[in-house]
Symmetry: C2
């Protein structure tokens, strides 16, 4: 089990023996869940860090009209609930459900705080993970604020160009699925708009690389 | 100056004398900025925590079409840049500009890490601040994903009802300005839609308290 735990990003840079030593001085629980069982409910106070040792979980948001939508999927080895664990408003906004047979190590918030305080390497890893989550959700806000799909796409492509300064063409960096999720649209809508842009001569797509052909027209899509 | 610093949330629960002692063992800089001067540029690597001792700053996002929009305003005593400081992708997405005469205490990332490691009270405060920022931006994503203004409003009001379980009427909790920002719309558009809801008999608004009159119709706005 400890060799699986050592792959969880919060233990990056640790030897298995060091992890065993650390966990020996910390209170924790190991729990297992059957597929489709609920790990935590909407409205529960979230006072634990969950380390996913094996299996997959998903977060589902229940709308008031009894439809639920999957808002996140996490696969072992990874952690969840870490980014808002120490918030004043730490009630879960989603149901957390085991998608497969799942094994989880649970550390209570106060014990985690002690652990972070005791070990600067874990602290650094933890801050890195929560900061990365923050960057992802902030990027999502940025793209959700842009009203049109073409505007989102134009902005994303111009950002890519900036990051790849000296290159004429560059990879999209994410799958169509991931970009659709980032933009808050469906995958077919994403692909349809990208193809339209290509057909209208704004960009060229070859071997999964994109090249800007008409920057003027791209810029016009932003306003 | 230290009595001003003691009001910054990261030092919550500290006596001024304790803060002086802490800062004596940490490297930091104090910088002052004139109104409208740029504190940090888009694309800069962000390697510092900024503690705003006095004055106000704003974050401006530069669009490719030379328009810039203000995405955040922060007033002393507060910190900024804390939530993504330890991310892999820690390039600033905005220009940070002093709105007034501004005094800032700057701690370099690695020195901050030492400080957080050394003092569990600061660590707890820091995790609380970054977690709260995460909750705010996640809520924003939630409301941006809802397409119509009425849908956003209905969802917000039903959330309020859930939080105020045994009450028949409850405060909106935020100003119209703040709610417009949360929803990603203009303030007039927000107020117009709220008034429409009231006129259509879905809710009643009295003495800044809101009461649900027709839950059925509210639920219909969600789908």
């Amino acid at each position: 089990m400890f060799s699986e735990i050592s792959k969880i990003p919060v233990f990056k840079g640790f030897k298995t023996s060091e992890i065993i030593q650390l966990l020996n001085t910390t209170r924790y629980q190991i729990r297992e869940y059957e597929p489709e069982s609920v790990i935590a409910h909407t409205g529960d106070n979230c006072n634990n860090l969950y380390l996913l040792i094996s299996g997959s979980i998903r977060g589902e948001m229940n709308n008031y009209n009894d439809k639920s939508i999957v808002v996140s999927e996490i696969h072992a080895p990874d952690t969840f609930a870490e980014a808002f664990l120490f918030a004043n408003k730490n009630k879960l906004l989603i149901n957390i459900i085991a998608t497969t047979h799942t094994k989880i190590l649970i550390i209570y918030k106060n014990d985690l705080l002690q652990l972070l305080n005791k070990n600067i390497k874990i602290l650094n890893n933890y801050l890195n993970i929560t900061s990365n989550r923050f960057v992802i959700v902030t990027e999502k806000v940025k793209f959700l604020m842009i009203k049109t799909v073409k505007g989102k796409l134009a902005n994303y492509i111009l950002d890519l160009e900036k990051e790849n300064k000296d290159k004429l063409s560059f990879s999209l960096g994410k799958t169509h699925e991931e970009l659709a999720a980032l933009f808050g649209i469906t995958r077919p809508a994403f692909t349809r708009n990208l193809v339209k842009m290509k057909n209208e001569g704004l960009v060229e797509i070859k071997n999964k690389e994109i090249k800007i052909l008409n920057r003027e027209k791209l810029l016009k899509l932003l306003s």
